[in-house]
Symmetry: C2
Subunit: 364 residues, 2 copies
């Protein structure tokens, strides 16, 4: 079946592009002696996580305990929950996972460490801990320096916890390549500061985990990082493209959608809205709209209602008639994938398989 024969709207993944993306990142990490611990939030799919591990990933990253459970249920191990989880019920599940598996958690405060320790001790489990520091984004994470060392020292004293190193998210590395390079230099200073704190205190750190997709291929300019956690690179999206961190041919995910109305002059309405794409606008270029219509790049997907995508065709050479099927590269693929129960796999536009997005909706 051609992908345009799918019942729409549908999420499709081009396997050739995906495999190239996986290989490129695996190669970069191998070449630079970096561990690759991909963030699975983008795909939420154990089958794809397995492909990453088969290509040499040292482990996986998730944000939620429920996502870790999905990966563990599929037989995957060595999972970093890159999130300061709080709450008795979730920590109980996390401790259960940590029995007999290699699980890590990042945190940035003593209260969370104490709660985590209590949960682990109750089930006689052990979990690895990374202390999170802020490399410039200002979201989670301690200031590099003494605060990190103090927290790590406390962690080493708590039952069921094993201090294994540091974590930061390179979310501040964003924008054009020049902007990203400049910010990477700033981040490198903060990473160096964080590491020196531990050297001065003579506390060994096994892991220094960083990363994000726009920063991934700049990691060589940030000394001390031992592993990275890019997520988006598997599929890429317009956000990544507009930062110059991929080209359109490296975008593996598309929404297949049908034109359902052209009753209003200058407009075509497609059967995919914010409940299919998500309503994430493009960080780096709001002018580009809500997605790139491959078959009509001069038509602008300028508005999304919940189930309607409004396309401005007044300046487009394409005639988008009712019933015509188009494919759209989304702005933010992580948010888009999370709207779908299923992803359809294609090669040369032919549907060759289907994945369940098993981690979708695992918000706890």
């Amino acid at each position: 079946m051609h992908r345009k024969e799918l019942s729409t709207p549908a999420l499709t993944i081009d396997l050739d592009i995906l495999e190239d993306n996986l290989n490129r990142m695996a190669h970069y990490c191998k070449e630079h002696g970096l561990g690759l611990r991909p963030h699975t939030k983008t795909h939420k799919t154990p089958e794809l996580a397995r492909m990453q591990v088969d290509r040499g990933a040292v482990g996986l990253t998730v944000a939620k305990v429920g996502e870790a459970e999905v990966m563990a249920d599929a037989g995957l191990d060595d999972i970093l929950v890159a999130y300061p989880v709080w709450g008795v019920e979730k920590l109980r599940r996390l401790a259960k996972l940590a029995r007999g598996r290699n699980i890590l958690l990042s945190l940035d405060n003593e209260a969370t460490a104490c709660e985590l320790s209590r949960a682990m001790a109750a089930q006689d489990a052990t979990i690895g801990v990374l202390v999170e520091f802020d490399s410039g984004l200002g979201r989670c994470g301690l200031e590099p320096g003494i605060a990190c060392v103090e927290l790590a020292t406390k962690v080493t004293k708590l039952e069921g916890l094993r201090f294994r190193g540091l974590m930061t998210y390179f979310g501040s590395i964003w924008g054009t390549e020049d902007e990203r390079r400049a910010e990477a230099a700033h981040v490198a200073g903060r990473v160096g500061h964080a590491i020196r704190g531990f050297e001065d205190a003579r506390i060994p750190i096994e892991i220094v985990s960083g990363g994000s997709t726009p920063a991934a291929l700049l990691t060589e300019s940030i000394p001390g990082i031992t592993e990275i956690r890019p997520g988006t690179y598997v599929y890429n999206d317009l956000n990544t493209f507009y930062q110059g961190a991929c080209n359109l041919g490296e975008c593996a995910a598309r929404i297949v959608t049908t034109v359902v109305s052209t009753a209003v002059a200058g407009r075509a309405i497609v059967d995919a809205g914010s409940k299919t794409f998500s309503s994430d606008l493009l960080g780096s270029g709001p002018k580009s709209g809500y997605g790139y219509i491959v078959e009509a790049p001069d038509a602008k997907l300028f508005n999304l209602s919940e189930e309607h995508g409004s396309v401005d065709i007044s300046n487009s050479a394409s005639r988008l008639n009712v019933g015509e099927v188009v494919t759209v590269i989304p702005n933010h693929v992580c948010a888009t994938v999370n709207m779908h129960d299923d992803a359809f796999l294609v090669r040369n536009d032919q549907v060759v398989g289907q994945w369940r997005v098993a981690g979708r909706g695992k918000i706890r």
Copy 2:
């Protein structure tokens, strides 16, 4: 269990508020002789649809065939699919639904009518058809007037279709009450024009369906409307509040979320981001951020990452410490509910039940 003891993040529905909202709209419609055909896109929950029908709703509205199936599976009937569905697979399912049930579909073009007729004829089914006209939003729908009459005339000649009337979406009625009243007058002109076309052609119209939540209580100023399709009114949200169409005490849905990090000065991070709230900003007041924190109204939820909500607490009297649980009224509740598999029901803050959001993710 108190709602703050739920594992977070979680969607909670206050049943007392919900029931008041349902009763208020049912009363308005009864008082003004209007049919109420609520749009279930907001809640996607058959149990709540049943509450609406029990309070006198003449039927239900959905956007997708999959949503209609969920409602029909729960024994609900008289369902308007307010969407110009295109595609063989979906129309086959729709025809199956229409056998033995009262199903309606809205459409605005002949091609869709022909496809629909073919699908109905193949299964010896009959479906009601509403011709959609544009009352001012400029999304779907024909211009009021001759175009509508011509399409209706074609519909009456097609096998398996029964022309039943007109439909429009009052999406242009938006903003402050003054703005909404002014636009309602404009909409009334277009509705009148549409109806007169049929009077002139001596084609009887049984149904003239309009509505939206911000416009619902203004329907009396739009003559000719026989039924309305508000959705959001069941739960309300900040969008509705900032238009003056509800007060905060009439907002029934809240996200329960836990503070997980305060490592960065002036900020608290909660465990709910765009994968819990959706990233829909507030149409009428972007300054208000991504939600209203009931326990700390002076703290601003200024940014959402996928799983992190960033709260500016620099001007807040509240101390949001790690582990503290807060409840947040979302900006756009339809988009928020769609992120959740479950809704937890509360009365007086005590959890008294749970609904599955059975229609979530039914994008086809």
